[in-house]
Amino acid sequence: MSAATLASTPDELPSVPWLIAGLALLAVVIVTLAVRPGLFISNLVGGLVYGMILMMIALGLSLILGLLGVVNFAHGALFMIGAYGAYQVVALFELPFWVALIAVPIGVGLIGVLMEVTVLRRLYGEDPLIGLLATFGIELMLEEATRAQWGGTPLSFDPPAVLRASVQVGFLEIATTRLFTAAVGAVVVVGLFLLMYRTDFGLSIRAGLQDQQMAEFLGIDIPKRFTIVFFLGTAIAGLSGVLRGAEVGMDLGMGMDFVILAFVVIVVGGLGSIFGSVVSALLIGVAVFVTPVMLRAVTTVTGLEWLYVSGIGGLMPFLVMIGVLLVRPRGLFGEEGLLE
């Protein structure tokens, strides 16, 4: 692993095609800015916020994947339960949103701990596919339980008055929910980074990541660390669920959608890199929101109607992923050899 990081300087890329691609992208951005500046900027902000949500889910997922070697498929369901839990607290219990913001992630984290203790603990060291399939079964159970508890129709709740307002930034109005989501996302990233790289706890986790047996010889209680990490990862999923629920509401499909997207983010960013996950989540979020606007602007300028593909936004994460895999299989900032 350590040797691979040294050799992570970018390979010699064919520069002319890249230059052309970059210039073309720049030209499209300029055209879009000229045709629809307002829409472009507001979609850019929307994309960044969406990317923040993706980033938080992906961080939890990759934290668990890195340490425990399990792709927690149920991560999406926990994210969804976070959103529904916020609905329960705010709309049904009529408690303030801030209570949901604290209590729901803790509750979701406890569900995660329950999962880890009852099921996943038996599967460490087995074929990683077994863990994937087991959490997939749990995802189905949690989804069905959510349907039983809150029904199949999409729901939403009113965020507090502070978050319903919007702020004037230049000529642009930005909803405060979006700013708030972005701020919380930033706090989570920085907090996670400090925890992993600036505390003894993070040091012991990274030791376990590198050599679990040796770490246990040195007296680190690895199973307990695993449970704590699982709690952290799933609580972050719950937190992002609360934020997503406040911004756009909730439905039964969101869990599956987001866990797939989060994995795409991890693949694009490169496994084992917090920084890579952050960059790729923001990149994908922006791509989802901005591409339709850019294509629309290009069609209005050139008059070529076939250039506009409806629904291209939702397809962008997968196109970005396929592109990155073709050019740089280990992801943008990934380390070589992890889970390969």
């Binding site: 596919l129 994937l132 749990i138 994995f263 693949v267 593909v309």
Partner: protein, 365 residues
């Protein structure tokens, strides 16, 4: 011991050898012959309505298992290939007026090409990556089909009309095939294709190709060290698995009389995984048993609901059974934790082995 009994004993041995050697084809034929009368028995479902759907899904699960059980590669995206088979036929008949026997091979070939392309792109990654990447491709293709490109796929509505071949006569949910002057039930057409495809799968599994796949599954590094191009074998396993899934799709489009978007959906790919693992991926017949029990349980439970409510009145099983996925998910997690390889068919086999040992004991005494 007289001279005359020795050839007889040798003949018996040869018969026994042949029986055990060809037990898979014999089993497939027995399955096709017995499935309809057995599930139509009053004590079971009382109707053979779902028999052809069962056969089709058995084929789909067996095709899936060529990949997961024999090659060790998990695909969440097999709905792509089933769906391509379905939509290939539906689009061919509806938009291009192609005969079924032209549209179906085209659908299968397109599915094979898609499978090959995807496999070439992702087969070198680790198992987990592979599984999640198939999922991402499934999502992407679901997206494309939903967007209704060039008005071909009908978007979220699917293709519901003008998709049945001319030689199918549907009447009150019963489909009759009229081919070559004869007339027979759709089931027998499905059964014919099923038997051919299953025999082909069986041949693949026991061929040197299939043995190599198993070797790669069991120890990829060793296989590579022995000079096997693992990526190439896995690519072809994925492609073949996709092709056979598409064959199942070309049958399912007749059975369902049309294509719907959920054929491409996440749950279609998930169901085939659940069925196969539940049935037992270590055995050729495991996924088949899984598909059977899945359909049987679902049909039986819905029947139960319809009977129980008027008779019992107060005990309303409907709402609980409506969440059957929860219980199935639970059962699935239990199977995964306790015995991820052997599943239901392994359980059946161990019981059969025990009975046989017991019988052998009794006879020898």
């Amino acid at each position: 011991m007289s001279d005359a009994s020795e050839p007889a004993a040798a003949g018996r041995d040869r018969l026994r050898n042949a029986l055990s050697r060809y037990r898979v084809p014999i089993g497939i034929l027995l399955l096709v012959v017995l499935l309809r009368p057995v599930i139509a028995h009053d004590a079971l479902l009382g109707s053979s309505y779902i028999a052809s759907a069962m056969l089709i899904w058995m084929l789909f699960a067996a095709a899936f298992n060529l990949l997961y059980g024999y090659s060790g590669l998990l695909s969440f995206g097999h709905a792509i290939f089933l769906g391509t088979g379905i939509y290939g036929v539906a689009i061919g008949i509806r938009h291009f007026d192609l005969p079924y026997f032209v549209a179906a091979p085209i659908g299968v070939i397109v599915a094979g090409l898609i499978a090959y392309g995807i496999a070439r792109l992702i087969v070198g990654y680790g198992e987990i990556y592979f599984a999640m990447l198939t999922l991402a491709f499934a999502e992407a293709i679901h997206f494309v089909v939903n967007a209704d490109p060039f008005g071909l796929t009908g978007g979220a509505d699917g293709l519901r009309s003008d998709t049945t071949p001319a030689w199918i006569e549907s009447f009150r949910g019963r489909s009759v095939v009229q081919l070559g002057g004869g007339e027979f039930e759709l089931y027998y057409f499905v059964a014919l294709v099923f038997v051919i495809a299953m025999l082909a799968l069986w041949q693949i599994v026991r061929s040197p190709f299939g043995r190599t796949l198993v070797a790669i599954r069991d120890n990829e590094e060793l296989a590579r060290a022995m000079g096997i191009s693992t990526a190439r074998y896995q690519t072809w396993a994925f492609t073949l698995s996709g092709v056979f899934s598409a064959v199942a799709g070309t049958l399912l489009v007749i059975r369902n009389s049309g294509a719907s978007l959920e054929n491409f959906g996440m749950m279609t790919g998930a169901e085939v995984i659940l069925m196969s693992i539940f049935g037992g991926i270590s055995y050729f017949f495991g996924p088949i048993a899984g598909a059977f029990s899945w359909f049987f349980a679902r049909e039986y439970l819905t029947n139960l609901e319809m009977v129980a409510i008027p008779l019992v009145g107060t005990v309303d099983v409907g709402p609980i059974l409506g969440y059957w996925r929860f219980f199935f998910g639970f059962l699935f997690v239990v199977v995964i934790v306790l015995s991820p390889q052997r599943g239901l068919w392994g359980f059946v086999r161990s019981i059969a082995d025990r009975i046989r040992d017991r019988l052998a004991e009794v006879i020898s005494e």
